[in-house]
C-alpha cells in the first residue's frame, strides 16, 4: 500500500460479518459494506478509531509498530504519552513506570508531558502575539487536523501552527543525542492510532523525527510484568501537573491560561463545534481544545484502562506533581536559542475528499442527478445497501460506484415490475397454441 494512503485503522476481513453497524458512526462517511464486508475508503479515513469503538465483532483494528523494531537501532529512547501514566494504579509511581520501560528494552526515556509543558508556554505566547480574533484551534490531535483539512478547510488558518508534543519530544531527544555514534531510535508509546499514521504522513512538517509508534495495549502485559520486577526506581520522571494533564480533556485547554477557552472531546461534539466555528457563531473564545477521543487521549483506541478510571488516575497524579514554584525546563533553552523550532514549516492543504468533480459544471450536474436519485429512494437511511444514508447511496451511484438496486426497496420495486411484465408475457401465448 502506498505510504500516502497508509492507515493505522484497518479491517480484519475474517472477523467482519458485514453487519453495517460501523457505517453510520463514521464521521467522514468513509465506510461502505459491500459483498458482506466493510471497506474503508483510504482517502477519507482520518484514523479517529470510531469504528473500532462501535464494531460489535472486533473486526476493526488499529495497527501499530512492533517492539521488535527496536532491534534495528543501536540506542533506543521511549517517549511515553502522558496517557501511559493513567494506565496503572496511582500507587505505582511515574518513576516506576519509566524504569519498567527501560526494563522492556529501551535504553532511555523522555516524557512527552515535558514537551507538552513547553508547548503550553509557546501556545500562550502565540495567542498573545497573534493578530485577528478568530479562535485558535489546537492541532495536537492528528485527527482534528485531518478533519479540518477534509471537512472544514476554511478553518485551516485557525489551527495552532506548531508541532505536537510527540514530535517535539523526538526532536529534543535527537538533539541531545546528536553526538552519539550508532543509530538512535525514538519510539512513541501511544494511546493513539492516528499517531501511527501521523509519523508516516505528517502534517505541517516534512518528515517526522519519530521512528515508531508502539501501542500501549501491545506492550501492556510486558510492561505490567516489568513494573512488578522493578527493584530500584530510577529518578526518571520530571513532568509536572500541567504536562500530565494533557492526557485528558481540558489539560491543553487550561494550560493556555485563558478564561475564554473551551475544550471539546469526542468526534461528534468536535464536528458540532467546528460547524459553529465555521458559521462564525463562537465568539469571545480565544482557544478551542479539540480531542477526537471521548475524555481526551485517555480514551484513545490503543489504551487498556477504562477512560474514566484513567482520567481519575491522571488527576491524582497531577495533584502529586504540582510544582511549588513556576517551572522552567532546561529544554526550553533549545527553543529560545533557536536550536530547535516548533513552528510548522509546511502548509496544511485543503483535501476535498467529498468533491464530486473538479469541473464545477460537471459537479453541478452530478449533484442534480444525485438529488433526483435521492428523491426516488425511500429516505429511511436503513443502511442495508451498505451506505450510511440514502443520500450517501445516491452519491455513490452518481460516482458510478454502485447502482440503485443496492437499495432493497428499489430492488423489490424492480422485481415487482419484472413480475408484472412476466405475467403479462405469460398471458400472451404464441398464436399457434392460443386456443
Amino acid at each position: 500500500m502506498s505510504e500516502n494512503y497508509y492507515h493505522s485503522v484497518t479491517l480484519d476481513e475474517a472477523l467482519c460479518k458485514g453487519c453495517t453497524v460501523c457505517i453510520k458512526g463514521c464521521p467522514t462517511e468513509a465506510i461502505r459494506v459491500q459483498k458482506g464486508r466493510a471497506r474503508i475508503t483510504a482517502d477519507r479515513c482520518i484514523d479517529c478509531g470510531e469504528c473500532i469503538r462501535t464494531c460489535p465483532s472486533g473486526a476493526k483494528k488499529a495497527v501499530s509498530d512492533p517492539l521488535a523494531l527496536l532491534e534495528n537501532f543501536d540506542y533506543t529512547v521511549a517517549i511515553p504519552a502522558p496517557t501511559l501514566y493513567g494506565q496503572f494504579s496511582s500507587d505505582i509511581s511515574c518513576n516506576r513506570i519509566l524504569t519498567a520501560l527501560k526494563g522492556i528494552g529501551f535504553d532511555d526515556v523522555f516524557e512527552v508531558a515535558l514537551s507538552a509543558e513547553i508547548l503550553s508556554r509557546e501556545t500562550r505566547n502565540y495567542l498573545k502575539e497573534r493578530k485577528g480574533n478568530a479562535p485558535l484551534i489546537s492541532s495536537s490531535c492528528p485527527v482534528i487536523v485531518r478533519l479540518v483539512e477534509t471537512r472544514f478547510p476554511s478553518l485551516i488558518d485557525q489551527l495552532v501552527p506548531m508541532i505536537s508534543p510527540m514530535e517535539l519530544s523526538a526532536r529534543i531527544v535527537r538533539e541531545k543525542l546528536k553526538d552519539s555514534r550508532g543509530r538512535v531510535g525514538v519510539f512513541f508509546i501511544s494511546p493513539c492510532a492516528a499517531k501511527v499514521t501521523d509519523i508516516r504522513t505528517p502534517r505541517g512538517i516534512e518528515t517526522s523525527s519519530v521512528d515508531g509508534v508502539i501501542g500501549i495495549k501491545d506492550i501492556y502485559r510486558e510492561l505490567s510484568q516489568a513494573i512488578g520486577r522493578v527493584e530500584t526506581e530510577e529518578p526518571l520522571s520530571r513532568a509536572h501537573a500541567m504536562g500530565i494533564s494533557w492526557a485528558r480533556t481540558d489539560g491543553e485547554g487550561s494550560a493556555v491560561f485563558s478564561e475564554n477557552h473551551i475544550s471539546v472531546d469526542g468526534i461528534e461534539h468536535v464536528i458540532d463545534v467546528l460547524e459553529s466555528l465555521e458559521n462564525g457563531h463562537i465568539e469571545n473564545v480565544d482557544f478551542v481544545e479539540m480531542m477526537s477521543c471521548p475524555g481526551g487521549c485517555v480514551g484513545g483506541p490503543l489504551t487498556v484502562e477504562n477512560p474514566y478510571i484513567a482520567r481519575n488516575i491522571i488527576t491524582c497524579r497531577e495533584r502529586r506533581h504540582l510544582p511549588d514554584e513556576p517551572v522552567s525546563l532546561p529544554e526550553e533553552a533549545l527553543l529560545d536559542s533557536g536550536v530547535l523550532s516548533i513552528r510548522w514549516t509546511e502548509s496544511v492543504e485543503s483535501r476535498t475528499t467529498h468533491l464530486l468533480d473538479p469541473d464545477y459544471r460537471k459537479a453541478m450536474q452530478m449533484m442534480e442527478d444525485m438529488e433526483a436519485i435521492r428523491q426516488g429512494l425511500p429516505g429511511l437511511d436503513c443502511g442495508s445497501c451498505g451506505a450510511p444514508s440514502c443520500r450517501a447511496l445516491a452519491e455513490d451511484i452518481v460516482r458510478g460506484r454502485t447502482t440503485e438496486t443496492d437499495c432493497v426497496f428499489m430492488l423489490r420495486e424492480r422485481i415487482r415490475e419484472l413480475t408484472r411484465e412476466m405475467i403479462d408475457l405469460e398471458s400472451r401465448m404464441p398464436p399457434g397454441l392460443d386456443r
Binding site: E278, G280, H281, T352, L355, L356, D357, Y360, E395
Partner: protein, 138 residues
C-alpha cells in the same frame, strides 16, 4: 439547481440544519472555501433570525454557476424599522434566545458584511423575506 428547506420555529436546537446541509453541498461542488465560509455565516444568521424572531419559514437556495442566491421567507411579525434593525447592537430577542447566545444584534450586520448583496422585504404583521446573494468567484 434549487433546494428548499422547511425551517421549524419550535425547536431552537434544530436551527442551523439547513445551513449545514448547504455547506456540505458547496463543499461537494468545490466552491472555494472563503466563499463557503461567507455563505455559511450569512445563511446561518438569517436562518437563526427566522427561528428566533419569526417562528420558522421556508428557505430556498438557488445554486447557479456564478452565484448563490438564498431566499428566506417567513410569515412572522415583520420588522417595523429596517434601518434600526440593521444597526449593530439592536435586538428584540427574548430571554430564551439570549440564554442560547443569540440577541447581540450582530446578525444582520454580519450578513451585510459577508454577502455580496442583502435585501430585506418586510411588512409588519405579514412577514419578512430576506434575499442574500453571493458571488461564487468572489
Amino acid at each position: 439547481m434549487n433546494f428548499e428547506y422547511q425551517v421549524s420555529g419550535e425547536d431552537y436546537s434544530l436551527a442551523g440544519r439547513a445551513s449545514s446541509d448547504i455547506k456540505k453541498k458547496l463543499k461537494q461542488l468545490g466552491i472555494p472555501s472563503p466563499v463557503i465560509k461567507k455563505t455559511a455565516i450569512s445563511m446561518y444568521e438569517a436562518e437563526i433570525n427566522m427561528v428566533i424572531h419569526a417562528d420558522g419559514g421556508v428557505i430556498e437556495v438557488c445554486l447557479d454557476p456564478d452565484q448563490i442566491k438564498i431566499v428566506l421567507k417567513d410569515t412572522g411579525p415583520g420588522i417595523p424599522d429596517l434601518e434600526q434593525a440593521m444597526q449593530e447592537g439592536f435586538s428584540t430577542a427574548n430571554e430564551a434566545a439570549r440564554e442560547l447566545g443569540f440577541g447581540a444584534g450582530m446578525g444582520l450586520m454580519n450578513i451585510q458584511r459577508n454577502s455580496d448583496s442583502l435585501h430585506i422585504d418586510s411588512i409588519v404583521g405579514e412577514g419578512t423575506t430576506v434575499t442574500i446573494l453571493l458571488k461564487v468567484n468572489g
